[in-house]
Symmetry: C2
């Protein structure tokens, strides 16, 4: 069986949704074709997951399919874009039918949950890795960038943090946990639901936004730098994953929430007048601080006094050699 | 140095062209943003290159940068799309400064030659591989698909074939060649120039088109299948790379031209009335056959009698296990 047939067989269901408006041509030609309405812009983001670096190996192919798409789609949420489609570049050591079926199932589940159609891709032989490129649409000029946070805005997050980081204790260090905790943490790691509805709601409301992939402190640092402001975070206001707290205790769960990555909640700055309606529409959202003059991120205790910053989020390539 | 700084430092020059019309926002936020004119469509294609599968390793980082982008951009040519931008997902075993500089230089050279701007990407640690996703624009409805070849149309190719396949003799089997031959063959492999101008010219003229990546016979088979027709190829009319013929002799060079992949010339079907003007505008284009009723690809000798088909083009994943 050639690579073309392989793609068609296993990914047909994720491609099927290609009756989606905007998708003119899906899999099967040199290119896919998208068409937007007048005055719409296309948002594009690319994420690669490498076995042993971004996920443990061996792992469930179905969960990997879910996670690969969720991680990429979360960037659409961070931009306020409405989901449209995605391409998948899949590199595999061998073509294994049960693995492909499981992966395609997981991919399709997340694609359906997010409203994304598979529009193209590439399959190659090699060490296991995946690159997903996602496409979303936006009214022109309404993208939620990182660069427009204003002094006086509230700083908010989309929900509890720290679960994905805590899950690494189970995945990498073999730690045991009761079933309910374990399920909650593993789901947060493998199937983070991109906050696409929240992102769409924030268009025209939030002044800056992103999805938390590197850790709350590191990602707030990106907003602070791009906007030329400082972000103050009240440590006690940061919502912690209950399962992370139960597994690790308060202090370690707090560290996961502040510095652990992979939560894929939105962090955003918001003019205060939008808070009342937002807090009703999206009850998991929490105010965790505010935008002030200055640079960087400040962590405050309950008296408003500065706390030392813990080690920042995960980054690839700690040093450049040569 | 973090991955963000790494991207900025080495790929700034390829990103610089982001003043390009259509690119609203480039590298640095959750997503890049593109905007098309009314009645334009966006063409998208993704290609992955894996070390040891798609290119020999070790190899020149600069040449790899050229090839990675050229291979992807060629799909835009095959669709008749005008170049716009690309994303790069780069997975590297380590961040090596001279390697990154060479790669970025090669990428930038091909980006400038093709008129493509780097608009986003991802860098990760892992076994060397690259996924490039390219974006082009098209007037709505004018994409050159594979599915509309008509009986009576001419079958054409964009230029000489077989050089990239012959280059593998030098790269993989250590064969020696005089400098001029060697340079021509290696350039065909490492720096195939996507036929973007030809693709744009063919909009509204060609009935079907694609870029030859799997080999002439295999790719013509794709047109035949998608269009529900047969393609007849006159073997003697297929233009052979002079350097391939000098290195390998006529018979082996012909096999390279028919079944070798990686040439990235366009193959297309054309109503005969367009031939005179086309042959003047693009003198490297050759008529190699025609579209007839039936299915599949037929190879003909100089008397018009059928020849046996050699082994078809390269495909990943010869079998699915399990």
């Amino acid at each position: 069986m050639g690579e073309f047939e392989l793609i068609r067989r296993y990914f047909a269901s994720a491609a099927c949704a290609a009756g989606q408006p905007g998708v003119v041509l899906g899999i099967g030609d040199d290119c896919a074709l998208l068409q937007l309405a007048a005055d719409e812009q296309l948002a594009i983001s690319t994420d690669t997951l490498v076995a042993g670096v971004h996920f443990p190996q061996p792992c469930s192919a179905e969960l990997l399919g879910q996670r690969a798409l969720a991680v990429a789609a979360s960037d659409l949420a961070g931009m306020g874009a409405s989901p449209l489609g995605f391409t998948l570049a899949l590199t595999l050591p061998q073509a294994d039918a049960p693995w492909l079926q499981g992966f395609a199932d997981g991919l399709q589940q997340m694609a359906a949950a997010c409203g994304l159609s598979l529009i193209g891709g590439d399959t190659t032989r090699g060490p296991l890795s995946l690159t997903v490129t996602v496409f979303g649409r936006l009214p022109a000029g309404q993208a939620l960038t990182r660069g427009a946070a204003q002094e006086g805005d509230l700083l908010c997050v989309g929900g509890e943090l720290g679960a994905a980081c805590a899950a690494l204790e189970l995945l990498l260090h073999g730690r045991e946990a009761p079933a309910a905790q374990r399920d909650a943490l593993l789901q947060a790691f493998w199937s983070p639901m991109p906050q696409l509805s929240l992102g769409e709601y924030l268009r025209g409301r939030a002044s800056a936004a992103l999805d938390i992939s590197d850790g709350l402190l590191a990602d707030c640092g990106h907003i602070a730098q791009a906007s030329g402001v400082a972000l103050q975070i009240e440590q006690a206001a940061v919502p912690l994953s209950a399962a992370a707290e139960a597994l690790l205790g308060h202090t370690a769960a707090q560290l996961c929430a502040l510095s652990g990555g992979d939560d894929y909640r939105l962090a955003f700055t918001l003019p205060a007048e939008h808070w009342p309606a937002l807090s009703v529409a999206f009850p998991t959202v929490r105010r965790i601080g505010r935008v002030v003059a200055g640079t960087g991120v400040q962590l405050l205790d309950e008296q408003g006094c500065p706390l030392p910053l813990p080690v920042s989020g995960y980054q690839h390539f700690g040093a450049v050699h040569g």
